[in-house]
Symmetry: C2
Subunit: 192 residues, 2 copies
């Protein structure tokens, strides 16, 4: 179970994980299983853990006054999830995170993460690598949101994250793109 995580870390770090590092990692992460629709985080709560997704699919979203959901992030196996602001600052989150598919996680608390960060070089390197990729991806998504039409954003998603289309229903894809489900349906028909 931890092998998947250890493999992931070493693939995203430059230095290898020592046997001791591996033990520390195994000791710090706790396994958790979520059923479909189960919350990992609810608005108003503090995001206590950073979770590595072993299997399954989750979404992070807000709910506005009118009850409309807006998905800011999807996650599937091999991705991490948490509300970073809440996790790092200890403040209540404005987001919900829940499982769309039955999901298995490995979770670590902030304290243990900081500890690992300072004792296991591969963890530090992986963090930097993920920050880098995250920053680049965020920039692209912002650019897409402000400069493309609904159809272009959809076609872009098909190119960049086709797996999302397999794993999440269309109404969630629409929410992620910032358009209504009806508009997405029409775009898809249009695009043959």
């Amino acid at each position: 179970m931890y092998d998947i995580l250890l493999k992931y870390i070493s693939e995203h770090a430059t230095s290898p994980i020592t046997e001791e590092g591996a033990s520390l990692i195994r000791a710090a992460f706790v396994y958790k299983k979520l059923r479909r629709k189960q919350y990992l985080l609810q608005e108003g709560d503090v995001s206590k853990y950073l979770s590595f997704i072993l299997k399954g699919a989750i979404r992070q979203y807000t709910v506005n006054e009118k009850g409309m959901e807006h998905i800011v992030r999807f996650g599937i196996e091999g991705w991490w999830t948490s509300d970073r602001e809440s996790f790092e600052m200890g403040t209540p989150s404005r987001y919900n995170i829940d499982a769309w598919e039955e999901t298995e996680l490995l979770q670590i608390s902030r304290e243990k993460y900081v500890e690992l960060f300072n004792t296991v070089p591969a963890i530090q390197e992986m963090t930097q690598e993920l920050d880098r990729r995250g920053a680049i991806a965020a920039q692209k998504r912002i650019h897409s949101a402000i400069s493309l039409t609904a159809e272009e954003r959809y076609l872009n998603l098909v190119q960049t994250h086709p797996m999302f289309l397999q794993r999440f229903p269309q109404n969630m894809i629409a929410s992620y793109l910032g358009i209504s489900p009806e508009t997405l349906s029409r775009i898809r028909k249009q695009s043959k």
Copy 2:
């Protein structure tokens, strides 16, 4: 001149900068001045430097086939600029960065940055802090783009970055918000 940078770094790091660290920093950063409208980076070029803005105002944007500009980022004194993807990967950038006001920078190359990162703890800490803040800010901007109306996005900008409104013309603010200048003009009239 370097004092502004050193002060900035120490304010965003936990460990203090040693005298030796300060010398290394001074040796690594090079001063550069841009006139109004001068490019710091042009689409197709590689972003060779990470720049700290001492004074002035810049924007990072794309130009599409129709010649329309879309601003993804503003920068003023105390902010950093570069196209991160291009800077880190050495790939040609899709963005332009140019000076809106006359601007003074301190620039560092990737090689020197990596070197500083590995020898000056405060640089490493500052980088982590900036990544954290950048990730949180990016998340908020994505959320704003997919879930708010044009008017709400504008009012949100007024709250979060009022200085942008002072420093950049309205057509650039509109571009940053992903709306047309006419729409922004009408929103502002509307909002009394």
